[in-house]
C-alpha cells in the first residue's frame, strides 16, 4: 500500500523510513555501520545528487550508484 521509492526521489523536507539498503554487500555493510539501515527514520534535507539526509544522530551526504541504493517508504503528510 505504501510504495517504496529510491532515496533520491524523496523531496526536500520529506521524511521516510528506510526499508532496504541494496547493492554490493561490502558497501551496504559500510552504509549500515554508518547508521543508514533498515527501520530508521530519515529526513531529506537537500535533495539532489548527492543529497543530504538527517538520521537519528547525524547528517550524511549520499550519492547512490548502481552498486548501492536505499529504498524508503515515505511518511504520509498529514
Amino acid at each position: 500500500m505504501f510504495e517504496l521509492i529510491p532515496l533520491r526521489c524523496l523531496k526536500s523536507g520529506q521524511t521516510g523510513e528506510v526499508d532496504q539498503v541494496l547493492g554490493d554487500p561490502q558497501q551496504v555493510h559500510r552504509l549500515q555501520e554508518l547508521g543508514l539501515r533498515q527501520g530508521i527514520t530519515i529526513e531529506m534535507l537537500q535533495s539532489g545528487s548527492p543529497c543530504i539526509i538527517r538520521t537519528a544522530g547525524s547528517k550524511l551526504c549520499f550519492r547512490p550508484n548502481d552498486a548501492l541504493n536505499v529504498l524508503v517508504r515515505p511518511a504520509l503528510r498529514r
Binding site: P25, H29, R37, A56, G57, K59, R63, N65, A67
Partner: protein
C-alpha cells in the same frame, strides 16, 4: 601494593568514530607529551602520548577514527592488530577507552559493541554532552553504566570537564575483569563461531582471538581473507564458507546479521537511557548549512573561500620566501669567502645549500596551505566542500573525497598524495594519486614567474584590472587541471575501469577550530614534509650538482683564464700607484675605486664564464647536447635542454642551472633581473638569432606544467601505492604529455608569432 608492577607503564588505546572529539581528548590528556611514529608496512601513523595518573605512568595510543572494527584494508587492520596485541605491535592494551558522541549514541554504540568483545577492560567516554543537551537529549549515564557493565564518564573534552573522572576510571580499570560478552548475537551464530574457532585453531601454536574468528565469519570478501601474512588457508576458507552457508540457511546471513544484531542490542541498551525531546530544534550548524551547503550560494561562497586561500598563500608567503632566499644567499656568500676553492666548497655551496634552500624557500607556502586545510577540516567545512564538489568529481569518475587531496597538490603534491588515504575505494584513490602531480605546484610557480616576467608583455585590459601576465599564469594552472580531467576520464575507461564510486560522508556539526590542534597538525605535517620530501630533494640536488660538476677538467679553467691574463695584468698595473706618486686628490681616489670595481667585475665575469664552461664539459652538459636535436622542435637550445634535464629530480633546480649555464653563476633566483635580461639576450650558438621568444617561453612553461619532475612526488607515490609500477607509469605518461604539450605550444605559437 608496591612492587615492580607499579613501575610498568599502563597502555591505553583510544578508539572512537570520527568527529567525536577524540583528538581533543587525546591532547587534553597528554598535552605536549605526544609523538608520531610509524607502523611498519602501512601508511597509518602511530600517534602516542604520555601522562601520569597518580604516580603511575600511562601511555595513550590514539587509533584512527573509525565507524567499525571490520577491517577492510591493511590500514584498518592496524587498529584491530593493536587492540588484540597481534603481530609486530606491542602487547594488547591494558585498557581501551571508547569515546562516543553523546548526541549520536546509536551509531557510536555499534563500535562499542564490537569493542566489548575484544577481551580487554573498556571505559566509555561520553563526549560533547553540551551539544547533546542543545539537541534536546536527556542522557542517563547511570543507567547506561548498569546496562553496559562498564564505567561511563560524561565529558566535555574541549572544556576540560570530566577529565578527572576519566582519569580515575582509567586507574580503576587497570587489571579489572574484561567485560562479560554482551552476546548481541543469536545462539546459532555463537555456535558457528565456536565451531569455526575449533577448526581454525587446529594445529596452531597460538589460538586466534575469538574476535578474529568472528570477523572471518562475518566479513564476506573482507580484508582478512587476503591478509598478508595469510590468516586463512584453503582448508580454513572452506570451513568459513561452510559456516556462512549454515548461518544463511538459519536465516542469519553474514554480513547483514552483524548490523541487525548489534543495532538491536544498541536499541535495548538505550531504551529509556536516552530521551529525545520530540521537537527537533534547529541547531546553529543547521542554520549555517542552509547557506554553506546550498547548491548555489554554497558553491559561490566555496569558490570565494578557495580564492581567498590561494591569494593568501601567495601573498603572505612572498615576504617569508624573500627573507629565506636572502638568508641562503648570505650563507653561501659567507661560505664561499671562507672555504678554499675546490670540490668540497662547490659541493656545500652549490649542492647542499642550493638543495636545502630549494626546499626551505617554499616551506612557507606549504605551511600556510596546511594551516588553512587544518582549520577548514577542524571547523567542519571540508565535508561541505567535498559535498559541493562531488557533482563535478563524479562526472570524471571520482568523488568529492578526491577534492582535498587535489587541492593540496596545488601547493605540493607530496601532502596531496598522502591525503588520498581518506579515499576508501582503491581505484578512486589510485586515479586521484595519478592525476595529483598535474596540479601546478609551488615549485612550478617559480618557473612561471620567471618566464612570464621576462617574456610576457605587461598588457592590461579592463582599465587595469586584468593583466596579460596574470591571465597567462592562470592559464598555466588551468592547463594542469584540464589535462587532469582528461587523464582521469581516460584512466577510468582503460587501465582503471570501474564503477563511479558511490559517495557517503558524514557532515559533522560546525565547531570553532582550536588553534592548538591546528598548530599541532601544521607542525606535524610540516615536519613530515621536511623529513620525507626535504631530505630527498637535498640528496637529489647534490646528485644534480655532481652531474654538473664532474669531470672537473682544470684545463678548461686554465684556457679561459689565460685568455684574460693580459687584461687582468693591465688593470693590476693601473691600480698599483707608481713609486713616488701619492694618491692625494679625491679625483685620483675615485678613479682608483672605479678601476678596482672594474677589476672585480672582470673577475666575476671570468669565474662565471669558467663555471659555464665547466658545466658545458660536465656529464650534464654533455647530456644536454645529446638531446639537443630532440628538443629543437620545442624551440629549445642545448642549454635549456640541459637545465630541464637537471630539473628532472626537482624542479627548483632549473633556475639556478639556467643561471650557471648562461654565465651568471649559480646564485640566480626567480626575481633576478640579470637572469631575465640574459635570457632575453641569449642567442643560438654561432648565430645572432635569439633563443627565447614568447612561443619558447610558453613551450617551457607548458612542459613544466605537465611534467613529473619531482623525485619526492614519485617517492611518495611509491610509498602510498606500495609498488614501483605506478610511479613509473606517472613518470612516463607525464613526460610524454609534457613533450607533446611543449611541442604543440611552440609550433602553434610560432605560427602566430612568426
Amino acid at each position: 601494593m608496591s612492587g615492580p608492577d607499579d613501575e610498568k607503564t599502563i597502555t591505553v588505546a583510544l578508539l572512537g568514530n570520527p568527529n567525536t572529539g577524540k583528538s581533543t581528548l587525546f591532547s587534553a590528556l597528554c598535552g605536549v607529551r605526544q609523538r608520531i611514529g610509524n607502523y611498519p608496512g602501512v601508511t597509518v601513523e602511530k600517534k602516542t602520548g604520555n601522562l601520569d595518573i597518580g604516580d603511575r605512568p600511562f601511555e595513550l595510543i590514539d587509533l584512527p577514527g573509525t565507524y567499525s572494527l571490520a577491517p577492510r584494508s591493511p590500514d584498518e587492520m592496524v587498529a584491530v592488530d593493536v587492540l588484540l596485541g597481534r603481530g609486530d605491535t606491542t602487547a594488547a592494551p591494558d585498557v581501551i577507552v571508547c569515546i562516543a558522541d553523546a548526541s549520536n549514541l546509536e551509531r557510536n554504540l555499534y563500535l562499542v559493541s564490537q569493542t566489548l568483545e575484544l577481551g580487554r577492560p573498556v571505559v566509555l567516554a561520553l563526549n560533547k554532552m553540551d551539544l547533546a543537551n542543545e539537541d534536546g537529549l536527556a542522557l542517563n549515564a547511570e543507567l547506561l553504566r548498569e546496562r553496559l557493565r562498564i564505567p561511563v564518564v560524561p565529558l566535555q573534552a574541549h572544556r576540560g570537564i570530566g577529565l578527572e573522572e576519566l582519569k580515575d576510571e582509567l586507574q580503576k580499570a587497570v587489571g579489572a575483569a574484561s567485560p562479560s560478552a554482551s552476546a548481541p548475537f543469536p545462539e546459532v551464530f555463537n555456535e558457528q563461531v565456536a565451531w569455526l574457532a575449533r577448526e581454525a585453531n587446529r594445529g596452531r601454536q597460538t589460538p586466534l582471538p575469538r574476535y578474529l574468528v568472528e570477523r572471518l565469519l562475518l566479513d564476506v570478501g573482507g580484508y582478512l581473507e587476503q591478509a598478508r601474512p595469510p590468516i586463512v588457508d584453503e582448508a580454513l576458507f572452506a570451513s568459513v564458507r561452510a559456516a556462512r552457508q549454515r548461518l544463511a540457511e538459519a536465516g542469519y546471513p553474514a554480513p547483514a546479521v552483524e548490523t541487525m544484531a548489534r543495532y538491536d542490542w544498541v536499541a535495548r541498551v538505550l531504551e529509556g537511557a536516552v530521551i529525545r525531546s520530540d521537537q527537533r530544534r534547529m541547531t546553529f550548524s543547521d542554520r549555517l548549512d542552509m547557506v554553506l551547503a546550498h547548491k548555489l550560494w554554497g558553491t559561490l561562497i566555496f569558490v570565494l573561500v578557495m580564492l581567498l586561500v590561494f591569494q593568501s598563500i601567495f601573498a603572505w608567503a612572498a615576504p617569508l620566501m624573500d627573507g629565506l632566499d636572502r638568508a641562503m644567499g648570505a650563507l653561501s656568500d659567507r661560505l664561499t669567502a671562507v672555504m678554499p676553492e675546490g670540490v668540497l666548497r662547490s659541493l656545500v655551496v652549490d649542492g647542499v645549500i642550493a638543495g636545502v634552500g630549494g626546499v626551505l624557500v617554499f616551506l612557507p607556502q606549504i605551511l600556510i596551505l596546511f594551516a588553512f586545510i587544518a582549520m577548514l577540516e577542524e571547523c567542519g567545512y571540508m565535508a561541505r566542500a567535498a559535498y559541493l564538489t562531488d557533482g563535478l568529481m563524479s562526472r570524471i569518475g571520482l568523488s568529492g573525497k578526491s577534492f582535498i587531496p587535489l587541492l593540496s597538490s596545488f601547493a605540493c603534491a607530496v601532502p596531496g598524495v598522502m591525503a588520498t588515504r581518506a579515499i576508501e575505494n582503491r581505484r578512486d584513490r589510485l586515479v586521484t594519486i595519478l592525476i595529483a602531480p598535474l596540479m601546478s605546484c609551488s615549485a612550478r610557480l617559480q618557473v612561471y614567474s620567471l618566464l612570464i616576467a621576462a617574456f610576457i608583455p605587461d598588457r592590461r585590459y579592463l582599465g587595469g584590472w586584468l593583466g596579460l601576465q596574470g591571465i597567462t599564469l592562470l592559464a598555466m594552472y588551468l592547463l594542469g587541471a584540464v589535462v587532469a580531467v582528461f587523464v582521469a576520464l581516460i584512466l577510468r575507461r582503460t587501465v582503471l575501469r570501474g564503477e563511479t564510486p558511490s559517495f557517503v560522508m558524514e557532515l559533522p556539526s560546525y565547531k570553532l577550530p582550536s588553534l592548538r590542534s591546528v598548530a599541532g597538525r601544521v607542525g606535524e605535517s610540516g615536519w613530515s614534509f621536511v623529513q620525507q620530501a626535504g631530505t630527498l630533494i637535498v640528496a637529489v640536488a647534490v646528485l644534480v650538482w655532481a652531474a654538473g660538476y664532474f669531470p672537473h677538467d682544470p684545463h678548461v679553467e686554465q684556457a679561459i683564464r689565460s685568455g684574460y691574463a693580459d687584461q687582468l695584468q693591465q688593470l693590476d698595473a693601473r691600480l698599483t700607484p707608481a713609486p713616488g706618486q701619492v694618491s692625494r686628490d679625491s679625483q685620483r681616489a675615485l678613479q682608483q675605486r672605479a678601476e678596482s670595481a672594474e677589476k672585480k667585475a672582470l673577475e666575476q665575469r671570468i669565474s662565471n664564464e669558467v663555471a659555464a664552461a665547466y658545466m658545458e664539459q660536465s656529464y650534464l652538459g654533455r647530456a644536454g647536447k645529446l638531446i639537443a636535436p630532440l628538443v629543437r622542435p620545442l624551440g629549445w637550445d642545448w642549454r635549456i635542454g640541459c637545465a630541464v634535464i637537471a630539473s628532472f629530480p626537482a624542479r627548483e633546480v632549473v633556475i639556478s642551472t639556467l643561471g650557471v649555464i648562461y654565465q651568471l653563476g649559480g646564485q640566480q633566483n626567480v626575481a633576478s633581473p640579470s637572469l631575465r635580461e640574459t635570457l632575453r639576450e641569449a642567442t643560438w650558438p654561432g648565430s645572432e638569432r635569439r633563443v627565447f621568444n614568447v612561443p619558447v617561453a610558453l613551450s617551457i612553461m607548458v612542459f613544466f606544467a605537465l611534467c613529473a619532475q619531482c623525485a619526492a612526488t614519485l617517492a611518495v607515490i611509491r610509498r602510498e601505492t606500495n609498488s614501483w609500477r605506478w610511479p613509473a607509469f606517472t613518470f612516463v605518461y607525464m613526460t610524454a604529455l609534457a613533450y607533446l604539450g611543449g611541442l604543440v605550444a611552440y609550433q602553434v605559437g610560432m605560427l602566430f608569432a612568426g
